[in-house]
Protein backbone atom coordinates (compact mmCIF):
# COMPACT_ATOMS: atom_id res chain seq x y z
CA UNK A 1 0.00 0.00 0.00
CA UNK A 2 1.53 3.33 -1.06
CA UNK A 3 2.29 5.90 1.59
CA UNK A 4 2.17 9.67 1.20
CA UNK A 5 5.88 9.99 0.53
CA UNK A 6 5.59 7.50 -2.30
CA UNK A 7 2.95 9.46 -4.21
CA UNK A 8 4.86 12.72 -3.86
CA UNK A 9 7.98 11.05 -5.16
CA UNK A 10 6.08 9.63 -8.08
CA UNK A 11 4.59 13.03 -8.72
CA UNK A 12 8.03 14.62 -8.71
CA UNK A 13 9.35 12.00 -11.05
CA UNK A 14 6.41 12.56 -13.37
CA UNK A 15 6.81 16.32 -13.30
CA UNK A 16 10.50 16.41 -14.08
CA UNK A 17 9.96 14.24 -17.12
CA UNK A 18 7.06 16.26 -18.54
CA UNK A 19 8.06 17.93 -21.82
CA UNK A 20 6.54 21.23 -20.74
CA UNK A 21 8.58 21.28 -17.56
CA UNK A 22 11.77 20.37 -19.43
CA UNK A 23 11.07 23.17 -21.83
CA UNK A 24 10.67 25.69 -19.02
CA UNK A 25 13.90 24.54 -17.37
CA UNK A 26 15.79 25.03 -20.64
CA UNK A 27 14.07 28.32 -21.41
CA UNK A 28 15.01 29.71 -17.99
CA UNK A 29 18.70 29.28 -18.76
CA UNK A 30 18.46 31.45 -21.88
CA UNK A 31 18.84 35.10 -20.87
CA UNK A 32 17.80 36.51 -24.25
CA UNK A 33 14.66 34.35 -24.31
CA UNK A 34 13.70 35.48 -20.81
CA UNK A 35 14.12 39.08 -21.92
CA UNK A 36 11.80 38.29 -24.83
CA UNK A 37 9.26 36.72 -22.48
CA UNK A 38 9.46 39.82 -20.28
CA UNK A 39 8.84 42.14 -23.25
CA UNK A 40 5.85 40.12 -24.46
CA UNK A 41 4.33 39.90 -20.98
CA UNK A 42 4.84 43.62 -20.40
CA UNK A 43 3.14 44.33 -23.72
CA UNK A 44 0.08 42.28 -22.79
CA UNK A 45 -0.16 43.95 -19.38
CA UNK A 46 0.11 47.41 -20.96
CA UNK A 47 -2.55 46.54 -23.55
CA UNK A 48 -4.96 45.31 -20.87
CA UNK A 49 -4.43 48.24 -18.51
CA UNK A 50 -3.97 50.93 -21.19
CA UNK A 51 -6.85 52.93 -19.72
CA UNK A 52 -5.08 53.21 -16.35
CA UNK A 53 -1.57 53.85 -17.66
CA UNK A 54 -2.23 56.43 -20.36
CA UNK A 55 -2.45 59.96 -18.89
CA UNK A 56 -4.53 61.36 -21.80
CA UNK A 57 -7.22 60.30 -24.24
CA UNK A 58 -5.25 58.99 -27.26
CA UNK A 59 -7.57 60.56 -29.84
CA UNK A 60 -8.24 63.84 -28.03
CA UNK A 61 -7.24 66.70 -30.36
CA UNK A 62 -5.98 69.90 -28.81
CA UNK A 63 -4.53 72.24 -31.42
CA UNK A 64 -2.92 74.67 -29.01
CA UNK A 65 -0.78 71.78 -27.73
CA UNK A 66 0.43 71.00 -31.29
CA UNK A 67 4.01 69.69 -31.77
CA UNK A 68 5.13 70.20 -28.17
CA UNK A 69 8.51 68.64 -27.40
CA UNK A 70 8.74 66.10 -24.55
CA UNK A 71 8.12 67.59 -21.08
CA UNK A 72 6.74 66.52 -17.72
CA UNK A 73 3.20 67.18 -19.02
CA UNK A 74 3.76 65.17 -22.20
CA UNK A 75 6.47 62.54 -21.62
CA UNK A 76 7.04 61.87 -25.31
CA UNK A 77 5.74 65.17 -26.65
CA UNK A 78 2.65 65.76 -28.79
CA UNK A 79 1.87 65.33 -32.49
CA UNK A 80 0.66 67.85 -35.02
CA UNK A 81 -2.92 67.65 -33.70
CA UNK A 82 -1.74 68.09 -30.13
CA UNK A 83 -2.44 64.47 -29.15
CA UNK A 84 -0.26 63.01 -26.39
CA UNK A 85 2.23 60.60 -28.02
CA UNK A 86 2.85 58.57 -24.86
CA UNK A 87 -0.89 57.84 -24.52
CA UNK A 88 -1.15 56.93 -28.19
CA UNK A 89 1.76 54.53 -27.86
CA UNK A 90 0.20 52.90 -24.78
CA UNK A 91 -3.10 52.41 -26.61
CA UNK A 92 -1.20 51.32 -29.74
CA UNK A 93 -0.19 48.10 -27.95
CA UNK A 94 -3.82 46.98 -28.33
CA UNK A 95 -3.93 47.40 -32.10
CA UNK A 96 -0.61 45.63 -32.65
CA UNK A 97 -1.43 42.80 -30.22
CA UNK A 98 -4.89 42.17 -31.69
CA UNK A 99 -3.64 42.26 -35.28
CA UNK A 100 -0.66 40.05 -34.46
CA UNK A 101 -2.76 37.42 -32.70
CA UNK A 102 -5.84 37.44 -34.95
CA UNK A 103 -3.99 37.47 -38.29
CA UNK A 104 -1.66 34.73 -37.07
CA UNK A 105 -4.64 32.65 -35.88
CA UNK A 106 -6.25 32.95 -39.32
CA UNK A 107 -3.03 31.77 -41.02
CA UNK A 108 -2.62 29.04 -38.44
CA UNK A 109 -6.16 27.72 -38.81
CA UNK A 110 -6.09 27.62 -42.63
CA UNK A 111 -2.50 26.38 -42.81
CA UNK A 112 -2.83 23.56 -40.29
CA UNK A 113 -5.99 22.15 -41.87
CA UNK A 114 -4.71 22.40 -45.43
CA UNK A 115 -1.20 21.19 -44.54
CA UNK A 116 -2.49 18.22 -42.55
CA UNK A 117 -4.78 17.15 -45.40
CA UNK A 118 -1.99 17.49 -47.98
CA UNK A 119 0.54 15.61 -45.87
CA UNK A 120 -1.80 12.87 -44.65
CA UNK A 121 -3.49 11.99 -47.95
CA UNK A 122 -0.62 12.75 -50.35
CA UNK A 123 -1.19 12.00 -54.05
CA UNK A 124 -3.07 14.45 -56.24
CA UNK A 125 -4.60 16.33 -53.28
CA UNK A 126 -1.09 17.05 -52.09
CA UNK A 127 0.09 18.08 -55.57
CA UNK A 128 -2.73 20.57 -56.04
CA UNK A 129 -2.29 22.11 -52.61
CA UNK A 130 1.45 22.42 -53.06
CA UNK A 131 1.03 24.12 -56.46
CA UNK A 132 -1.29 26.64 -54.79
CA UNK A 133 1.29 27.40 -52.11
CA UNK A 134 3.89 27.78 -54.90
CA UNK A 135 1.77 30.56 -56.38
CA UNK A 136 1.57 32.34 -53.03
CA UNK A 137 5.31 31.95 -52.58
CA UNK A 138 5.87 33.56 -55.98
CA UNK A 139 4.92 36.91 -54.49
CA UNK A 140 7.18 38.68 -52.02
CA UNK A 141 5.20 38.58 -48.73
CA UNK A 142 4.81 42.31 -48.23
CA UNK A 143 3.96 42.95 -51.87
CA UNK A 144 1.10 40.45 -51.77
CA UNK A 145 -0.21 42.02 -48.56
CA UNK A 146 -0.10 45.45 -50.24
CA UNK A 147 -1.88 44.15 -53.33
CA UNK A 148 -4.66 42.54 -51.29
CA UNK A 149 -5.08 45.63 -49.10
CA UNK A 150 -5.27 47.92 -52.14
CA UNK A 151 -8.15 45.94 -53.52
CA UNK A 152 -9.96 45.16 -50.28
CA UNK A 153 -9.72 48.78 -49.21
CA UNK A 154 -8.03 50.01 -46.03
CA UNK A 155 -9.60 49.04 -42.70
CA UNK A 156 -8.73 47.39 -39.42
CA UNK A 157 -10.57 44.17 -40.29
CA UNK A 158 -9.04 43.96 -43.76
CA UNK A 159 -5.56 44.05 -42.22
CA UNK A 160 -6.43 40.78 -40.42
CA UNK A 161 -7.79 39.29 -43.61
CA UNK A 162 -4.88 40.33 -45.83
CA UNK A 163 -2.10 39.30 -43.45
CA UNK A 164 -3.98 36.13 -42.50
CA UNK A 165 -4.42 35.09 -46.13
CA UNK A 166 -0.84 35.89 -47.05
CA UNK A 167 0.60 33.91 -44.15
CA UNK A 168 -1.15 30.52 -44.27
CA UNK A 169 1.17 28.95 -46.85
CA UNK A 170 4.10 28.84 -44.43
CA UNK A 171 2.01 26.88 -41.93
CA UNK A 172 0.69 24.58 -44.64
CA UNK A 173 4.21 23.64 -45.73
CA UNK A 174 5.47 23.28 -42.18
CA UNK A 175 2.58 21.05 -41.08
CA UNK A 176 2.68 19.02 -44.29
CA UNK A 177 6.36 18.24 -43.81
CA UNK A 178 5.83 17.27 -40.18
CA UNK A 179 2.80 15.12 -40.98
CA UNK A 180 4.69 13.25 -43.68
CA UNK A 181 7.53 12.57 -41.26
CA UNK A 182 5.29 11.14 -38.49
CA UNK A 183 2.74 9.47 -40.75
CA UNK A 184 4.81 6.30 -41.22
CA UNK A 185 5.51 5.83 -37.48
CA UNK A 186 4.45 2.65 -35.73
CA UNK A 187 1.98 4.38 -33.45
CA UNK A 188 0.03 5.74 -36.42
CA UNK A 189 -0.07 2.26 -37.90
CA UNK A 190 -1.28 0.97 -34.54
CA UNK A 191 -4.08 3.54 -34.54
CA UNK A 192 -5.10 2.38 -38.02
CA UNK A 193 -5.01 -1.23 -36.86
CA UNK A 194 -7.45 -0.61 -34.02
CA UNK A 195 -9.81 0.99 -36.53
CA UNK A 196 -9.47 4.70 -35.74
CA UNK A 197 -10.94 7.10 -38.30
CA UNK A 198 -8.65 9.39 -40.37
CA UNK A 199 -9.99 12.55 -38.76
CA UNK A 200 -9.35 11.18 -35.28
CA UNK A 201 -5.86 10.00 -36.20
CA UNK A 202 -4.91 13.40 -37.62
CA UNK A 203 -6.34 15.29 -34.67
CA UNK A 204 -5.25 13.03 -31.81
CA UNK A 205 -2.06 11.41 -33.02
CA UNK A 206 -0.49 13.32 -35.90
CA UNK A 207 -0.97 16.99 -35.01
CA UNK A 208 0.21 16.82 -31.37
CA UNK A 209 3.54 15.54 -32.66
CA UNK A 210 3.94 18.50 -34.99
CA UNK A 211 3.31 21.03 -32.22
CA UNK A 212 6.86 22.14 -31.32
CA UNK A 213 7.82 23.73 -34.66
CA UNK A 214 4.33 25.24 -34.96
CA UNK A 215 4.65 26.97 -31.58
CA UNK A 216 8.05 28.36 -32.51
CA UNK A 217 6.90 29.56 -35.90
CA UNK A 218 3.73 31.12 -34.47
CA UNK A 219 5.63 33.14 -31.89
CA UNK A 220 7.96 34.57 -34.51
CA UNK A 221 5.12 35.03 -36.98
CA UNK A 222 3.27 37.34 -34.58
CA UNK A 223 6.33 39.61 -34.66
CA UNK A 224 6.44 39.49 -38.44
CA UNK A 225 2.74 40.31 -38.71
CA UNK A 226 3.16 43.31 -36.40
CA UNK A 227 5.99 44.58 -38.63
CA UNK A 228 3.83 44.14 -41.73
CA UNK A 229 0.90 45.94 -40.11
CA UNK A 230 3.22 48.85 -39.31
CA UNK A 231 4.37 48.91 -42.93
CA UNK A 232 0.82 48.79 -44.32
CA UNK A 233 -0.41 51.50 -41.95
CA UNK A 234 2.65 53.57 -42.84
CA UNK A 235 1.67 53.34 -46.52
CA UNK A 236 -1.83 54.51 -45.58
CA UNK A 237 -3.54 51.25 -46.49
CA UNK A 238 -3.67 49.68 -43.04
CA UNK A 239 -5.27 50.92 -39.84
CA UNK A 240 -7.08 54.21 -40.49
CA UNK A 241 -6.95 57.48 -38.53
CA UNK A 242 -7.61 58.45 -35.81
CA UNK A 243 -6.94 54.99 -34.33
CA UNK A 244 -3.69 54.86 -32.36
CA UNK A 245 -1.55 52.47 -34.45
CA UNK A 246 2.23 52.75 -34.34
CA UNK A 247 2.65 52.41 -38.11
CA UNK A 248 0.04 55.12 -38.66
CA UNK A 249 1.78 57.39 -36.12
CA UNK A 250 5.03 57.00 -38.07
CA UNK A 251 3.20 57.78 -41.29
CA UNK A 252 1.80 60.99 -39.77
CA UNK A 253 5.25 61.83 -38.43
CA UNK A 254 7.13 61.34 -41.70
CA UNK A 255 6.81 65.02 -42.66
CA UNK A 256 8.13 66.16 -39.29
CA UNK A 257 11.33 64.12 -38.99
CA UNK A 258 13.49 67.21 -38.55
CA UNK A 259 10.96 69.52 -36.82
CA UNK A 260 9.56 67.04 -34.32
CA UNK A 261 11.88 64.01 -34.10
CA UNK A 262 10.06 62.74 -30.98
CA UNK A 263 7.07 61.97 -33.21
CA UNK A 264 9.25 59.58 -35.19
CA UNK A 265 11.46 58.04 -32.51
CA UNK A 266 8.98 56.62 -29.97
CA UNK A 267 6.49 54.72 -32.15
CA UNK A 268 9.44 53.04 -33.86
CA UNK A 269 10.98 52.06 -30.53
CA UNK A 270 7.62 50.57 -29.51
CA UNK A 271 7.38 48.47 -32.69
CA UNK A 272 11.00 47.40 -32.40
CA UNK A 273 10.75 46.27 -28.76
CA UNK A 274 7.49 44.41 -29.39
CA UNK A 275 8.74 42.51 -32.42
CA UNK A 276 12.09 41.88 -30.74
CA UNK A 277 10.22 40.36 -27.77
CA UNK A 278 8.39 37.84 -29.95
CA UNK A 279 11.52 36.99 -31.94
CA UNK A 280 13.72 36.43 -28.88
CA UNK A 281 11.01 34.33 -27.23
CA UNK A 282 10.45 32.31 -30.40
CA UNK A 283 14.16 31.72 -30.83
CA UNK A 284 14.49 30.61 -27.20
CA UNK A 285 11.47 28.32 -27.52
CA UNK A 286 13.05 26.67 -30.54
CA UNK A 287 16.11 25.75 -28.50
CA UNK A 288 14.01 24.78 -25.47
CA UNK A 289 11.41 22.65 -27.26
CA UNK A 290 13.86 20.64 -29.28
CA UNK A 291 17.48 20.70 -28.19
CA UNK A 292 18.40 18.86 -31.40
CA UNK A 293 17.46 21.92 -33.43
CA UNK A 294 20.09 24.00 -31.65
CA UNK A 295 23.26 24.67 -33.57
Amino acid sequence: MPTNTDTSEIKELYQTSSPLHDMWVRLKRNKLALFGLFLVTALVVIAVFAGFIAPYDPVQISLKESLKSPSSAHLMGTDVLGRDIFSRIIYGTRASLIIGVVATSISLAIGVVVGAIAGYYGGWIDSIIMRITDIFFAFPFFLLAIAIMTFLGPSFINVFVALGIVGWTNYARLVRGQVISVKESDYIEAAHAVGAKDFRIILKHVLPNTLAPIIVFTTMNIGGVILSEAGLSFLGIGVQPPAPSWGLMLSEASNFIFNAPWMVIWPGVAIFLTVLGYNLLGDGLRDALDPRMKQ
Binding site: R131, P140, G231, L250, I257, P267, F272
Partner: protein, 310 residues
Protein backbone atom coordinates in the same frame (compact mmCIF):
# COMPACT_ATOMS: atom_id res chain seq x y z
CA UNK B 1 21.00 17.81 -65.27
CA UNK B 2 19.22 18.88 -68.47
CA UNK B 3 16.22 16.82 -67.40
CA UNK B 4 16.17 18.57 -64.04
CA UNK B 5 16.30 22.00 -65.68
CA UNK B 6 13.51 21.13 -68.11
CA UNK B 7 11.35 19.76 -65.31
CA UNK B 8 11.98 22.85 -63.23
CA UNK B 9 10.94 25.11 -66.13
CA UNK B 10 7.79 23.06 -66.77
CA UNK B 11 6.86 23.39 -63.10
CA UNK B 12 6.86 27.16 -63.59
CA UNK B 13 3.96 27.10 -66.02
CA UNK B 14 1.19 26.51 -63.43
CA UNK B 15 2.84 29.02 -61.10
CA UNK B 16 2.95 31.74 -63.75
CA UNK B 17 -0.66 30.97 -64.74
CA UNK B 18 -1.61 31.28 -61.07
CA UNK B 19 0.19 34.60 -60.72
CA UNK B 20 -1.57 35.98 -63.77
CA UNK B 21 -4.98 34.83 -62.45
CA UNK B 22 -4.34 36.43 -59.07
CA UNK B 23 -3.25 39.76 -60.55
CA UNK B 24 -6.10 39.69 -63.08
CA UNK B 25 -8.69 39.05 -60.37
CA UNK B 26 -7.32 41.95 -58.32
CA UNK B 27 -8.19 44.26 -61.15
CA UNK B 28 -11.53 42.61 -61.93
CA UNK B 29 -12.65 42.76 -58.29
CA UNK B 30 -11.75 46.38 -57.65
CA UNK B 31 -14.65 48.15 -55.96
CA UNK B 32 -16.04 50.89 -58.20
CA UNK B 33 -16.17 51.35 -61.95
CA UNK B 34 -12.72 51.49 -63.58
CA UNK B 35 -13.96 53.79 -66.33
CA UNK B 36 -15.26 56.31 -63.81
CA UNK B 37 -11.97 56.05 -61.90
CA UNK B 38 -10.14 56.74 -65.12
CA UNK B 39 -12.21 59.63 -66.49
CA UNK B 40 -13.63 61.17 -63.33
CA UNK B 41 -17.24 61.53 -62.17
CA UNK B 42 -18.49 64.19 -64.59
CA UNK B 43 -18.72 62.15 -67.77
CA UNK B 44 -21.87 61.36 -69.76
CA UNK B 45 -23.13 57.76 -69.55
CA UNK B 46 -22.71 57.50 -73.33
CA UNK B 47 -18.96 58.25 -73.11
CA UNK B 48 -18.58 55.80 -70.24
CA UNK B 49 -20.27 53.15 -72.37
CA UNK B 50 -18.03 53.90 -75.36
CA UNK B 51 -14.83 53.78 -73.32
CA UNK B 52 -15.98 50.59 -71.63
CA UNK B 53 -16.52 49.02 -75.02
CA UNK B 54 -13.22 50.38 -76.32
CA UNK B 55 -11.36 48.77 -73.41
CA UNK B 56 -13.23 45.51 -73.82
CA UNK B 57 -14.66 45.76 -70.29
CA UNK B 58 -18.12 44.67 -71.57
CA UNK B 59 -16.68 41.28 -72.54
CA UNK B 60 -17.11 38.18 -70.34
CA UNK B 61 -14.47 37.54 -67.64
CA UNK B 62 -12.78 34.68 -69.47
CA UNK B 63 -12.35 36.68 -72.67
CA UNK B 64 -10.91 39.55 -70.67
CA UNK B 65 -8.50 37.24 -68.88
CA UNK B 66 -7.25 35.74 -72.16
CA UNK B 67 -6.82 39.24 -73.58
CA UNK B 68 -4.91 40.27 -70.43
CA UNK B 69 -2.61 37.24 -70.66
CA UNK B 70 -2.04 37.81 -74.35
CA UNK B 71 -1.10 41.46 -73.76
CA UNK B 72 1.16 40.63 -70.84
CA UNK B 73 2.98 38.03 -72.92
CA UNK B 74 3.68 40.80 -75.43
CA UNK B 75 5.03 43.08 -72.73
CA UNK B 76 1.84 45.13 -72.45
CA UNK B 77 1.03 45.56 -68.74
CA UNK B 78 -1.84 48.03 -69.21
CA UNK B 79 -2.01 51.83 -69.03
CA UNK B 80 -1.91 54.17 -66.06
CA UNK B 81 -5.23 55.91 -65.24
CA UNK B 82 -3.44 59.02 -64.09
CA UNK B 83 -0.40 59.42 -66.31
CA UNK B 84 -2.00 57.85 -69.41
CA UNK B 85 1.27 56.08 -70.10
CA UNK B 86 2.04 52.40 -70.68
CA UNK B 87 2.88 50.69 -67.38
CA UNK B 88 5.69 48.77 -69.10
CA UNK B 89 7.31 52.06 -70.18
CA UNK B 90 6.98 53.47 -66.67
CA UNK B 91 8.59 50.30 -65.31
CA UNK B 92 11.50 50.57 -67.75
CA UNK B 93 12.11 54.15 -66.63
CA UNK B 94 12.12 53.23 -62.95
CA UNK B 95 14.03 49.95 -63.00
CA UNK B 96 17.57 51.46 -62.91
CA UNK B 97 17.00 53.24 -59.57
CA UNK B 98 15.49 50.16 -57.89
CA UNK B 99 18.19 47.94 -59.34
CA UNK B 100 20.99 50.17 -58.00
CA UNK B 101 19.36 50.38 -54.58
CA UNK B 102 18.91 46.61 -54.43
CA UNK B 103 22.51 45.94 -55.47
CA UNK B 104 23.91 48.37 -52.88
CA UNK B 105 21.69 46.85 -50.16
CA UNK B 106 22.76 43.38 -51.20
CA UNK B 107 26.49 44.20 -51.15
CA UNK B 108 26.22 45.79 -47.70
CA UNK B 109 24.14 42.89 -46.36
CA UNK B 110 26.31 40.05 -47.68
CA UNK B 111 29.69 41.64 -46.87
CA UNK B 112 28.93 42.51 -43.26
CA UNK B 113 26.61 39.57 -42.70
CA UNK B 114 29.18 36.99 -43.78
CA UNK B 115 32.05 38.62 -41.87
CA UNK B 116 30.09 38.87 -38.61
CA UNK B 117 28.73 35.34 -39.15
CA UNK B 118 32.21 33.86 -39.56
CA UNK B 119 33.50 35.74 -36.53
CA UNK B 120 30.62 34.46 -34.48
CA UNK B 121 31.12 30.83 -35.59
CA UNK B 122 34.89 30.84 -35.08
CA UNK B 123 34.50 32.31 -31.60
CA UNK B 124 31.43 30.27 -30.67
CA UNK B 125 29.90 31.06 -27.23
CA UNK B 126 32.15 34.12 -26.80
CA UNK B 127 30.88 37.63 -26.16
CA UNK B 128 31.03 38.28 -29.92
CA UNK B 129 28.82 35.29 -30.58
CA UNK B 130 26.09 36.47 -28.20
CA UNK B 131 26.40 39.96 -29.61
CA UNK B 132 26.02 38.63 -33.17
CA UNK B 133 22.91 36.65 -32.17
CA UNK B 134 21.38 39.74 -30.60
CA UNK B 135 22.37 41.84 -33.62
CA UNK B 136 20.69 39.33 -35.92
CA UNK B 137 17.53 39.53 -33.80
CA UNK B 138 17.43 43.33 -33.98
CA UNK B 139 17.68 43.05 -37.76
CA UNK B 140 14.51 41.02 -38.12
CA UNK B 141 12.70 43.15 -35.54
CA UNK B 142 13.29 46.70 -36.70
CA UNK B 143 10.86 48.26 -39.21
CA UNK B 144 12.86 49.09 -42.37
CA UNK B 145 11.16 52.42 -42.92
CA UNK B 146 11.74 53.53 -39.33
CA UNK B 147 15.40 52.59 -39.57
CA UNK B 148 15.53 54.74 -42.71
CA UNK B 149 14.01 57.69 -40.87
CA UNK B 150 16.43 57.27 -37.98
CA UNK B 151 19.37 57.26 -40.40
CA UNK B 152 18.00 60.44 -42.00
CA UNK B 153 17.73 62.03 -38.59
CA UNK B 154 21.26 60.99 -37.62
CA UNK B 155 22.91 62.04 -40.89
CA UNK B 156 20.68 65.03 -41.63
CA UNK B 157 20.99 66.67 -38.22
CA UNK B 158 24.23 65.47 -36.66
CA UNK B 159 26.66 63.87 -39.11
CA UNK B 160 26.03 65.68 -42.44
CA UNK B 161 28.41 63.39 -44.35
CA UNK B 162 25.92 61.59 -46.61
CA UNK B 163 22.90 62.89 -48.55
CA UNK B 164 19.63 61.89 -46.87
CA UNK B 165 17.31 61.92 -49.89
CA UNK B 166 17.09 61.87 -53.68
CA UNK B 167 19.32 60.26 -56.31
CA UNK B 168 21.72 63.19 -56.72
CA UNK B 169 20.77 63.73 -60.37
CA UNK B 170 21.31 61.66 -63.52
CA UNK B 171 23.44 58.53 -63.38
CA UNK B 172 24.66 56.61 -60.37
CA UNK B 173 25.82 58.52 -57.30
CA UNK B 174 26.89 55.93 -54.76
CA UNK B 175 26.75 58.29 -51.76
CA UNK B 176 23.00 58.77 -52.34
CA UNK B 177 22.39 55.05 -52.17
CA UNK B 178 24.39 54.22 -49.04
CA UNK B 179 21.81 55.19 -46.40
CA UNK B 180 18.82 53.69 -48.23
CA UNK B 181 20.92 50.62 -49.00
CA UNK B 182 21.83 50.25 -45.34
CA UNK B 183 18.20 50.64 -44.23
CA UNK B 184 16.99 48.13 -46.82
CA UNK B 185 19.85 45.69 -46.35
CA UNK B 186 19.94 45.64 -42.55
CA UNK B 187 17.33 42.89 -42.11
CA UNK B 188 19.04 40.75 -44.75
CA UNK B 189 22.41 41.36 -43.14
CA UNK B 190 21.07 39.93 -39.90
CA UNK B 191 19.82 36.89 -41.77
CA UNK B 192 23.24 36.32 -43.37
CA UNK B 193 24.85 36.47 -39.94
CA UNK B 194 22.70 33.57 -38.73
CA UNK B 195 23.00 31.61 -41.95
CA UNK B 196 26.78 31.99 -42.20
CA UNK B 197 27.19 31.13 -38.54
CA UNK B 198 25.25 27.88 -38.64
CA UNK B 199 26.66 26.82 -41.98
CA UNK B 200 30.22 27.63 -40.85
CA UNK B 201 29.76 25.72 -37.58
CA UNK B 202 28.71 22.68 -39.56
CA UNK B 203 31.64 22.89 -41.97
CA UNK B 204 34.44 23.47 -39.46
CA UNK B 205 33.52 20.23 -37.69
CA UNK B 206 34.21 18.17 -40.78
CA UNK B 207 37.16 15.92 -41.38
CA UNK B 208 38.77 17.81 -44.22
CA UNK B 209 39.03 20.90 -42.03
CA UNK B 210 40.70 18.87 -39.31
CA UNK B 211 43.08 17.51 -41.96
CA UNK B 212 43.91 21.02 -43.12
CA UNK B 213 44.65 22.06 -39.56
CA UNK B 214 46.70 18.91 -38.95
CA UNK B 215 48.82 19.74 -41.98
CA UNK B 216 49.84 22.81 -40.02
CA UNK B 217 48.02 25.43 -42.09
CA UNK B 218 47.31 28.66 -40.26
CA UNK B 219 43.84 29.18 -38.82
CA UNK B 220 43.18 32.06 -41.15
CA UNK B 221 43.92 30.04 -44.30
CA UNK B 222 41.79 27.14 -43.10
CA UNK B 223 38.84 29.40 -42.40
CA UNK B 224 38.97 31.67 -45.44
CA UNK B 225 40.23 29.19 -48.03
CA UNK B 226 38.96 25.78 -47.04
CA UNK B 227 35.92 26.27 -44.84
CA UNK B 228 34.41 29.35 -46.42
CA UNK B 229 34.07 27.79 -49.87
CA UNK B 230 31.57 25.22 -48.68
CA UNK B 231 30.03 27.30 -45.94
CA UNK B 232 28.98 29.95 -48.42
CA UNK B 233 26.89 27.67 -50.65
CA UNK B 234 23.69 28.20 -48.62
CA UNK B 235 24.53 31.89 -48.37
CA UNK B 236 24.77 32.17 -52.15
CA UNK B 237 21.41 30.43 -52.61
CA UNK B 238 19.79 32.70 -50.09
CA UNK B 239 21.34 35.77 -51.69
CA UNK B 240 19.73 34.91 -55.00
CA UNK B 241 16.29 34.53 -53.50
CA UNK B 242 16.78 37.56 -51.31
CA UNK B 243 17.47 39.79 -54.30
CA UNK B 244 13.88 39.63 -55.49
CA UNK B 245 12.62 40.01 -51.91
CA UNK B 246 14.68 43.18 -51.53
CA UNK B 247 13.10 44.60 -54.67
CA UNK B 248 9.72 44.05 -53.02
CA UNK B 249 10.97 45.64 -49.80
CA UNK B 250 12.21 48.67 -51.69
CA UNK B 251 8.66 50.11 -51.64
CA UNK B 252 9.04 51.60 -48.18
CA UNK B 253 12.73 52.51 -48.49
CA UNK B 254 12.33 54.36 -51.77
CA UNK B 255 9.38 56.29 -50.39
CA UNK B 256 11.31 57.41 -47.31
CA UNK B 257 14.43 58.42 -49.26
CA UNK B 258 12.56 59.99 -52.22
CA UNK B 259 14.15 57.64 -54.74
CA UNK B 260 12.09 57.49 -57.95
CA UNK B 261 12.14 53.70 -58.42
CA UNK B 262 9.54 50.97 -58.83
CA UNK B 263 8.77 51.15 -55.10
CA UNK B 264 7.79 54.81 -55.05
CA UNK B 265 5.92 54.27 -58.30
CA UNK B 266 3.87 51.59 -56.53
CA UNK B 267 3.39 53.82 -53.49
CA UNK B 268 2.10 56.71 -55.61
CA UNK B 269 -0.16 54.36 -57.54
CA UNK B 270 -1.63 53.02 -54.28
CA UNK B 271 -2.37 56.45 -52.87
CA UNK B 272 -3.98 57.62 -56.13
CA UNK B 273 -5.89 54.36 -56.72
CA UNK B 274 -4.13 53.91 -60.06
CA UNK B 275 -5.04 50.21 -60.21
CA UNK B 276 -3.43 49.24 -63.54
CA UNK B 277 -0.07 50.40 -62.21
CA UNK B 278 -0.52 48.45 -58.94
CA UNK B 279 -1.48 45.40 -60.99
CA UNK B 280 1.39 45.83 -63.45
CA UNK B 281 4.04 46.31 -60.77
CA UNK B 282 2.75 43.33 -58.79
CA UNK B 283 2.80 41.10 -61.86
CA UNK B 284 6.25 42.33 -62.86
CA UNK B 285 7.81 41.81 -59.41
CA UNK B 286 6.22 38.37 -59.04
CA UNK B 287 7.63 37.34 -62.42
CA UNK B 288 11.10 38.65 -61.50
CA UNK B 289 10.86 36.75 -58.23
CA UNK B 290 9.94 33.48 -59.98
CA UNK B 291 12.62 33.79 -62.66
CA UNK B 292 15.34 34.58 -60.11
CA UNK B 293 14.32 31.61 -57.99
CA UNK B 294 14.57 29.41 -61.07
CA UNK B 295 18.04 30.70 -61.87
CA UNK B 296 19.12 30.18 -58.26
CA UNK B 297 17.89 26.58 -58.27
CA UNK B 298 19.66 25.83 -61.53
CA UNK B 299 22.94 27.45 -60.53
CA UNK B 300 22.74 25.64 -57.21
CA UNK B 301 22.50 22.34 -59.06
CA UNK B 302 25.39 23.30 -61.33
CA UNK B 303 27.63 24.63 -58.56
CA UNK B 304 27.27 21.85 -56.01
CA UNK B 305 28.12 18.50 -57.58
CA UNK B 306 27.10 16.72 -54.37
CA UNK B 307 23.46 17.41 -55.17
CA UNK B 308 21.78 15.00 -57.54
CA UNK B 309 18.26 15.61 -58.68
CA UNK B 310 17.12 12.59 -60.64
Amino acid sequence: MTRYIIRRILQLIPVILGISIVTFLMMALVPGDPVVLMLGQHISPQTVENVRHGLGLDQPMLTRYIQYMWNALHGDFGRSYIQHQAVSQMLLDKIPVTFRLTVVAMVIAVTFGVLIGILSAVKQYSFWDTFATFFAMTGVSVPTFWLGMMLQLLFGVILHILPVSGTGGEGFHLQNYILPGLALGYASMAMYVRLTRSSMLEVIRQDYIRTARAKGLSGRIVIFKHAMKNALIPVATQAGMDFAGLMGGAILTETIFSLPGIGSMLFNAISRRDYPVVQGVTLFLALVFVVINLLVDISYAVLDPRIRYD
